[in-house]
Structures are given as structure tokens and as C-alpha cells.
């Protein structure tokens, strides 16, 4: 049985692969959207922090002997704390200046982090083994699905769902959103707004690190892994609607699928298809798919 000239099993396989890549996009773009939506910072260091997340997992295993599962929690905590330090001491002093300064600062940070890891570890990358409990795979009939890839989808859905719930459905999330709308008023209610901002940035960065740990066993852990993915993730956030949590998650998965299909029908274009979609979306809906028009 064929679908558009492609055997159906191959087609199904490609859809699934697209969804897996979409899971990475979703977690990364979620963090980025969170930071932009609540802090108004265009966090260009996001890709580098994703890379640092993967390296922390690698270092934990290599030097301390701490395995994958603890690293999945520890690495986001460590990198998230590092993110909070960045926010407190670097981003806060320039919070009142034009957005451009925040963008430049985080871009510089990204180059710095990448440079440090490149200097120490080179670019050929380090290996991180798939944890024993997630090795092997299932035969789905139309393809062999490695257990680890299935786990990536599950983990991404859980984390995205939990973050959405935190921001949209809890009191803490409501306070966060209120602080964006009117910081002075929220402060008048006795809420420590600067602390809230620092925590939010830490959360966004933690999400990047989480994606980094998820990626470590399937891609080689290397200093350039962040810069390879960050531009695509930015495009996804723009497509979803800048700052929209729901939009970031949905467009992450959707564009993963879209990219997967391009790899079958016209592979040469697979690294630009997301930008084509971005251009079209911006023409038709300038605020993005889920964004509110300004």
C-alpha cells in the first residue's frame, strides 16, 4: 500500500520520527516562550544552555558516577541555578534598557559558553550511553521504535503539560502573569516580583537543560549542539506566537512532523522548511498561530 508514492509503513515511520524531533522542539521552545512571555527577554543563550545541560549530565556520569535518571533532575537544577545567577547579576541591571541589549548580552553569553566547552572538549563530541532500562526497542510492524525515543515523547509531553499547568492553572502562575501585566500593582500586594522574575528565568533555563539531558544519549554531546538547533527553535516560537505557552508546545510538535515529511518528499529542503512556514505564517497571521494581535 502506498501513500503519495511512498510505502505506507515508511510514511508512518517518518511521522513518528517527526513527532520525536517535535518533542525536543516543544520543550526548547516552551522554555524560550516562557522567558520571552514573562520577562520580555529574547534569550539567545537558550541553545548554549541546552548544550550545557547535556554536558552536565555527561560530567556527572564521568566524574561523579551519577547516572541518567538522577541527572535528568540534577542537571536542570544545576543549570537552572546558573541561569538564576545570570538573571540576577547580568540581565537585571539592563532590564530597563532596550530589548536589544538583553539580546546582545545573551548572544554574547552563548558564544562564551560554547567557546569554553569547545576549548576544553573539542568539537568531536563525547558519548553518553542510553541507560540500560531504556535500551532495545519495539517492533511496531511498520518500524522499529527504539525504547529511548518513545521515552522522549512521553517525557516531553509530561514536562510540557506540567509547565502549562503551572503557568495557566495555579496561583503561582497567575501571580507570574499578573507581574508581567503590571509589576507595580503586584508588588503592592506584597509579592517579591524580582524574585519571581529570577525564578521564571531559572525555570526556562531548567527546561533547556532538561532537553539537553534528553538529547545526550541520541546525539553526541558536543559544544555545537546548541547553535545547530537554536535558530530553528526561535522560528518555532515565532510561528506559535511570541510568548504563547500553548503555541510553543503545539507548534513544536507540529513543525517536527512537518520537517519529518519534508525529509521524505524533498530532503534537500528539510533544513529550511521551518523558515518557509515561518514566512507564510507571518504574512497570514503576523502575531503567530496562537498569538494575540498587539
Amino acid at each position: 500500500m502506498d501513500f503519495l508514492g511512498i510505502p505506507l509503513p515508511v510514511f508512518m515511520g517518518q511521522l513518528l520520527i517527526g513527532l520525536i524531533n517535535g518533542a525536543f522542539y516543544a520543550v526548547l521552545s516552551l522554555g524560550l516562550a516562557l522567558i520571552f512571555g514573562l520577562l520580555n527577554i529574547v534569550n539567545f543563550a537558550h541553545g548554549a544552555l541546552y548544550m550545557v545541560g547535556a554536558f552536565v549530565a555527561f560530567l556527572l556520569l564521568d566524574y561523579v558516577g551519577i547516572g541518567y535518571w538522577p541527572a535528568l533532575i540534577l542537571s536542570p537544577l544545576i543549570v537552572g541555578a546558573f541561569g538564576m545567577v545570570i538573571e540576577r547579576f547580568l540581565l537585571r541591571p539592563i532590564a530597563d534598557l532596550d530589548h536589544l541589549y538583553g539580546l546582545l548580552l545573551t548572544f554574547g553569553l552563548a558564544l562564551l559558553l560554547e567557546g569554553i566547552f569547545r576549548q576544553v572538549y573539542g568539537v568531536s563530541g563525547e558519548t553518553y550511553a542510553i541507560p540500560a532500562s531504556l535500551q532495545g526497542g519495539f517492533n511496531l510492524g511498520f518500524m522499529f521504535l527504539p525504547t529511548y525515543r518513545a521515552w522522549v515523547i512521553v517525557a516531553a509531553v509530561i514536562v510540557c503539560g506540567a509547565t502549562w499547568f503551572l503557568i495557566e492553572q495555579t496561583r503561582l502562575g497567575a501571580t507570574m502573569r499578573a507581574a508581567v501585566e503590571n509589576a507595580d500593582l503586584v508588588r503592592a500586594f506584597g509579592v517579591n516580583v524580582p524574585l519571581l522574575v529570577t525564578l521564571t528565568y531559572g525555570l526556562g533555563v531548567g527546561l533547556a537543560a532538561f532537553a539537553g539531558v534528553l538529547a545526550a544519549p541520541i546525539y553526541s554531546v558536543n559544544p555545537l549542539m546548541g547553535s545547530n538547533i537554536i535558530i530553528v527553535v526561535f522560528a518555532i516560537v515565532v510561528i506559535g506566537g511570541l510568548g504563547s505557552i500553548k503555541g510553543a508546545i503545539a507548534s513544536g510538535f507540529m513543525l517536527g512532523l512537518f520537517e519529518g515529511l519534508t525529509r521524505v518528499f524533498y530532503p534537500e529542503a528539510s533544513n529550511i522548511i521551518i523558515f518557509v512556514v515561518m514566512a507564510v505564517v507571518l504574512i497570514v497571521r503576523p502575531a503567530g498561530l496562537f498569538g494575540k494581535a498587539a
Partner: protein, 416 residues
């Protein structure tokens, strides 16, 4: 005051005399032999090339005592960032203002071909070690100034692809890096497969660089080909090999052929993932005593064993300096002509000679990556299966398309 003037004049006179001497006797321009390296110092190919290559050339200069015919040897290096325009600008500046006598080009065929054109136009000697594309000694050849040293796409295909087809792996599917190098490598490998009775059932061009190859691997799996040929390099190769294992492709009975695999790739992949891969290499640190000895020194200096590109850099710099010494000049055309008369033998090259078209023909090795059990430790990664003599590994001048070299050859015959 008068005394001061006299001393100054005497000094100036001596300096002039020395300069004149150097021009008459040594023939070394600007009183120094200056080598410039243009290579990937920060990107996807910097691990197999980069700083290690600079260290290797430093070793060659030290071996010559830091000077040739009394003139000091100077070394500069720059990052081309895998962009042809950046590499070209550096080469122009070095040729026009810095009096660089030899440019050593590193990995990336796109940049490598651009440098060949500029050096040929400027009359600067040029030796490429990292670029694979065989067009450097075919349609883009510049036999009077430009040499291609370590390996090329023909040698890689004639090694790995031919060996695998002869073992009965006849149907092939290619995953190809979508730029000059990948297409070039796929084409030479396809020819090698077909000439030996195999068939090519399909191919897919993956953008460079790509992180996730699973989609392309599934297409290759779906093709039912016996061999999946990887016409890519560096981190692209690492990701494809690693993910092929994850998706059970090798366990499913298909074989992987990595057409270009470096020691650093195997190191990054680990033997668990890389074991059993067939590859072609121009150099392996453990190939013989001389190579082991030099590689040990290299490891002391850099902390790792050399890749074939790094060893090739050493060899080409050393032989160039020897040729300058023998020719008594650093004039690019005379030195290149001198190199073509010399047998090339050192820690890197076995049975080497520089051909009329600029190709340094030498023995290549067909190797297989060891299993974790076979390996005795870090860097002990290859079993050398056999030596491929230079004239079998590389394409002959007659089969190639370097017209200038063919004319030289036929012109030579007529005058005889």
C-alpha cells in the same frame, strides 16, 4: 655624534650586503620561508584537523632545525570557519602582504578548491591535506603550484566500496552530505560499486550539518539495500552511525559503509557503536614502527594520536622544506617541480610520489574498526586488513580530467 653616524652606516652596509648575499646564494625571498595554514579551527572538522594540524607542522619545522639554508621558517595559521570567502580573503592577504611562500589547506573541499584558484593566480605554493574532493587534481587542477596530499574521494571509494562489493554486498543506498564533497564522494563510490558488478538502489541528500539522521536512515532501511553508504564526514558521520545502531539497522542485517572515517570519529563514537566498520585511511598511527615513533611524539605534544589529516600536514610541510633546501629557492614553481622529482617517504607516506597533476600518490590502507574485546586501550581502534598500492588507490592521470597535466605528459613524450 659623528661616531654614531659611522656605526649606523656600517650597520646599514652590512645589512644590505647580507640581503644581497641571501638573494644570490640562498634564493630565499624576504630572508624567511613562511608557511601559512588555512583550516577549520572551530567547526565540525576542527577535531580531525585544527590545532592538531598546526602542532604537526611545528614538528616538521623543528625536525628541519627551524631553518632552511640559513633562512628561518615561520608559521602562521588562520580559521576559515568552513566558508570559502573567508578562506579566500586570508589567502589573498597572505600572498599580497605577508610574503607567505606555502599555504597548507585543511578540511573542507569548498574552501580547498577556492584556495587552489587563488594560489595558482598569485603563484604561491599550495598543498591541501584535509579536503577530499578529487576535483583538486581534475577539473580544478593547478599542477604548477597546487598539490593534493593525504587522500581523495577516489582513494576512499576504491578502498571501502570496492572491498565491500567484492565481499558480496552488491546493492547500495547512499546518505550524502548535500555539498560538493558529499556529492563528489557519492559519485566516485557509485562508479566503484557499478564497475565491480554492484547496483545503486537509491540515495538521499541530507543537509550539512544534520543532527538527526533517523529519517534518512529509515528511508535507507526501507530501500532494502544491503549496504548503506555514508558519504559524509565528522559529526554527521558520528550521528549517522550512532543512530543506525539505535534503530536496529545493523542488527537487521544491513551493513554500514562509512566512506570517510577519521580516528577522532571512532574515538567519539566509542568501539561499541563503531566496531566492524570498514574504512579507508591514508595513515594509521600503528601502521609501522616509524609511524608509531612519530605518533608518540605527537601524542606527547597534543594529548591525542594523529588523524591522517594531521599526519599528512606534517608530511607535506616536511617534504616542502626539504624541496626548498634541495632547490635552493622558495620560488613556488621551482619547489613544486623539485617535489615531483623526489621520492616521498616519511612517518606518514609509504611509496609516495608527486604526480604531474599534483596528486601525491601513496599507499592507502583498508582497515576495519576493532571490537571492544580486540582493542587494548584508547586509540587502539583499527585492524589494517591490507595495503592498497598507490596506483590502485588513486585514479590515473589519463582517466582524470586535468588537461594541463596531460599536455605536460604528452609534450614531454614528444620532446623525447
Amino acid at each position: 655624534m659623528k661616531l654614531m653616524k659611522t656605526i649606523l652606516m656600517a650597520g646599514a652596509a652590512t645589512a644590505l650586503a647580507t640581503a644581497a648575499n641571501a638573494q644570490d646564494g640562498g634564493g630565499i625571498s624576504n630572508d624567511a620561508v613562511k608557511i601559512g595554514m588555512i583550516l577549520d579551527m572551530s567547526g565540525a572538522y576542527s577535531a580531525l584537523d585544527g590545532q592538531g594540524s598546526v602542532a604537526a607542522v611545528e614538528m616538521a619545522i623543528e625536525e628541519m632545525g627551524g631553518e632552511v639554508n640559513g633562512a628561518p621558517v615561520e608559521l602562521v595559521s588562520a580559521d576559515h570557519q568552513n566558508k570559502a570567502d573567508i578562506g579566500s580573503n586570508i589567502a589573498r592577504e597572505w600572498a599580497d602582504q605577508e610574503n607567505v611562500d606555502l599555504i597548507l589547506g585543511g578540511a573542507n573541499s569548498g574552501v580547498g578548491i577556492a584556495l587552489q584558484e587563488i594560489t595558482s593566480e598569485k603563484g604561491v605554493a599550495y598543498i591541501n591535506n584535509g579536503a577530499a574532493s578529487n576535483s583538486l587534481t581534475n577539473e580544478s587542477c593547478a599542477p604548477e603550484t597546487g598539490l593534493h596530499w593525504t587522500y581523495d574521494t577516489d582513494a576512499l571509494s576504491n578502498g571501502t566500496a570496492v572491498a565491500m562489493v567484492k565481499e558480496g554486498n552488491e546493492s547500495w543506498y547512499f546518505i550524502t552530505a548535500d555539498y560538493t564533497f558529499g556529492h563528489n564522494l557519492q559519485k566516485t563510490a557509485e562508479n566503484a560499486v557499478k564497475e565491480n558488478g554492484g547496483e545503486v538502489v537509491g540515495s538521499v541528500a541530507a543537509p550539512f550539518p544534520t543532527q538527526d539522521f533517523s529519517s534518512f536512515l529509515l528511508q535507507a532501511q526501507g530501500s532494502g539495500a544491503q549496504v548503506i553508504g555514508l558519504a559524509n564526514a565528522g559529526t554527521d558521520t558520528q550521528n549517522s552511525v550512532k543512530q543506525a545502531q539505535e534503530f536496529g539497522i545493523v542488527q537487521g542485517g544491513q551493513k554500514l559503509a562509512s566512506l570517510l572515517l577519521f580516528l577522532t570519529d571512532v574515538d567519539a563514537l566509542g568501539l561499541d557503536a563503531a566496531q566492524g566498520l570498514t574504512l579507508t585511511t591514508g595513515f594509521y598511527w600503528d601502521q609501522d614502527e616509524q609511524a608509531r615513533e612519530w605518533s608518540a611524539k605527537f601524542e606527547e605534544k597534543t594529548g591525542s594520536k594523529p588523524t591522517m589529516v594531521q599526519a599528512g600536514m606534517y608530511s607535506s610541510a616536511l617534504q616542502y622544506l626539504k624541496a626548498v633546501e634541495a632547490a635552493g629557492t622558495d620560488d613556488s614553481k621551482q619547489v613544486i617541480a623539485q617535489l615531483k622529482t623526489m621520492p616521498i617517504e616519511d612517518a606518514f607516506a609509504r611509496n609516495g610520489k608527486v604526480r604531474a597533476d599534483g596528486l601525491m600518490e601513496h599507499d592507502m590502507f583498508l582497515a576495519q574498526v576493532k571490537t571492544p574485546d580486540e582493542s587494548e586501550g584508547k586509540w587502539d581502534y583499527y585492524n589494517i586488513i591490507r595495503t592498497i598500492p598507490g596506483d590502485q588507490a588513486f585514479q590515473s592521470i589519463e582517466d582524470g580530467s586535468c588537461e594541463a597535466a596531460k599536455e605536460m605528459a604528452s609534450g614531454g613524450e614528444q620532446s623525447n
